[in-house]
Amino acid sequence: MTTDIAISAKGLNLTFQTNDGPVHALKDVNLDICKGDFVSFIGPSGCGKTTFLRCMADLEHPTGGSITVNGVSAADARAARAYGYVFQAAGLYPWRTIGRNVSLPLEIMGYDKADIAQRVQRVLELVELSGFEKKFPWQLSGGMQQRASIARALAFDADILLMDEPFGALDEIVRDHLNQQLLQLWARTNKTIAFVTHSIPEAVYLSTRIVVMSPRPGRITDIIESPLPRERPLDIRDTPEFLEIAHRVREGLRAGHAYDD
């Protein structure tokens, strides 16, 4: 069943050489992400969760082990535009309107004009930003800007979405709303999503699998399969099942920290 695996890391190692000596950002990381999964990476800063995501995106180069995305190397997957990447900041170009920001990757990838216009309409609808294509980024709230950046990552139909703390800079109310929207979007598009966060409720609420990581060296300490149904209203966060998973994530994070002292 290898065809069902979207991302596969085997014995992944990444060591940065710094002035203070080598830093083990990732050590012996093994993980398979199945197609259609929503996998969250959680851990304290320095645990390598973002570095791992960047390895998937071919923005960092592992010093050992192997990583495949859609069955090919991360570099080939990037060249094939296999994934959309959402950064912590929306990173919209201030000199482009929302519509032209979303069309930017499409222009780069050489889509024709009619196709671009139609795709921009579709993805803006998907993130509930229809009617905003003529607005400039500064005319939108932070949450709307981040939604526009998600639309931009969706525009070219990559079936993998890599998200690096996309809602980290937003307040809790906006974050709840966007989490809900993201789940609906995931249900509708059936994408594979890898999601980095440092919020336990966010990880538990969104994910089918939660990968708990710990620092020095950056490694995976626990992988939790969520028993929650795919359909999740916001108040699922008050159910005993939800709290139990959250508890297990917290335990995992604490165990990882014990090595520090």
């Binding site: 923005l59 990037r78 994934y83 990173g91 201030p94 000199w95 990838m109």
Partner: protein, 286 residues
């Protein structure tokens, strides 16, 4: 016109100060003449005299204004005594030098940003080029170019370019490097080519830096053109008027050329400011 009153007040204060300074500086000559004529001056006679001398140490504002009026409105533009003719000569060298300097500056900046060898080697030379006094190098440029048969507009424009490329290089290197790592990573995730990253990210990001640099470059370019006119034997241009004025003690002519140069610089810089406003507005950045 919210700031009209403050600007007007400061201008009036400067004019008043100028008139007072004219009395003070030109008084010696007025007393001298009165003594030789065997007369004494009342205060009002003294003031009237100091504001109306032929070759005053400091001409009064109305004398300069009259001279500018005479040499612009009253003279034909083709006349050698027309200040508009001389301004045009200087402005054409300034503009050509400015364009050359801006193109050279942007070219060097792109090289510095994209080429590691240029990054390591060019910048120190760019800075060194500006530590050489332009007054020392200008005659040599004129003489050398004259020897190979190039004279007229181009040597002056090259001196202008020499002064004006510097702010553009410095500003554009900073501007082209202004996209942060995240924006560059984002381009990588789309597998964008170097050219796409340049045209769609680096160049638009550098626009505010470019216009700021161009304003400084334009002012520097005018200085370069005027300096370039000094060693050419004072044929034409505002620099030539300044030089001829100082040969013959024509202080009124010097001051009128100076004010013309200042007005020219202000107009050219304002023009860039206008282009900046229009461009940034169309880009949604202002």
């Amino acid at each position: 016109m919210r700031n009209f009153l403050p600007v007007f007040t400061v201008l009036m204060a400067l004019v008043a100060l100028w008139y007072a300074a004219a009395v003070w500086l030109n008084a010696d000559w007025a007393y001298d003449r009165a003594q030789r004529a065997g007369t004494t001056l009342t205060f009002s006679e003294l003031v009237a005299d100091t504001w109306a001398q032929d070759k005053p140490k400091l001409p009064a504002p109305h004398q300069v204004a009259a001279e500018i009026w005479n040499t612009t409105v009253e003279k034909k533009i083709t006349s050698k005594r027309s200040l508009i003719f001389h301004s045009w000569v200087t402005m054409s060298a300034t503009l050509l030098g400015f364009v050359l300097g801006t193109v050279l500056g942007i070219g060097l900046a792109i090289g510095i940003v994209y080429n590691r060898v240029m990054d390591m080697s060019v910048m120190p030379w760019v800075i060194a080029s500006q530590t050489i006094p332009i007054l020392a190098i200008a005659p040599m440029i004129i003489v050398v170019l004259n020897a190979v048969g190039i004279s007229g507009l181009l040597p002056k424009a090259i001196i202008s370019m020499y002064l004006s490329f510097f702010p553009v290089v410095v500003g554009m290197v900073k501007g082209l490097r202004s996209p942060d790592q995240m924006q560059l990573d984002q381009m990588r995730t789309w597998n964008a080519s170097g050219a796409q990253t340049f045209w769609r990210l680096r160049l638009p990001s550098s626009m505010p830096y470019l216009f700021t640099s161009m304003k400084i470059a334009m002012a520097a370019s005018l200085v370069g053109a005027i300096v370039g006119e000094l060693p050419t034997g004072a044929v034409a241009g505002l620099g030539a008027r300044l030089l001829a004025g100082s040969y013959y003690g024509q202080t009124i002519q010097i001051w009128s050329a100076l004010i013309m140069a200042a007005a020219l610089a202000a107009a050219l810089v304002a023009l860039i400011g206008l282009a900046q406003r229009i461009t940034l507005k169309r880009m949604g950045m202002a």
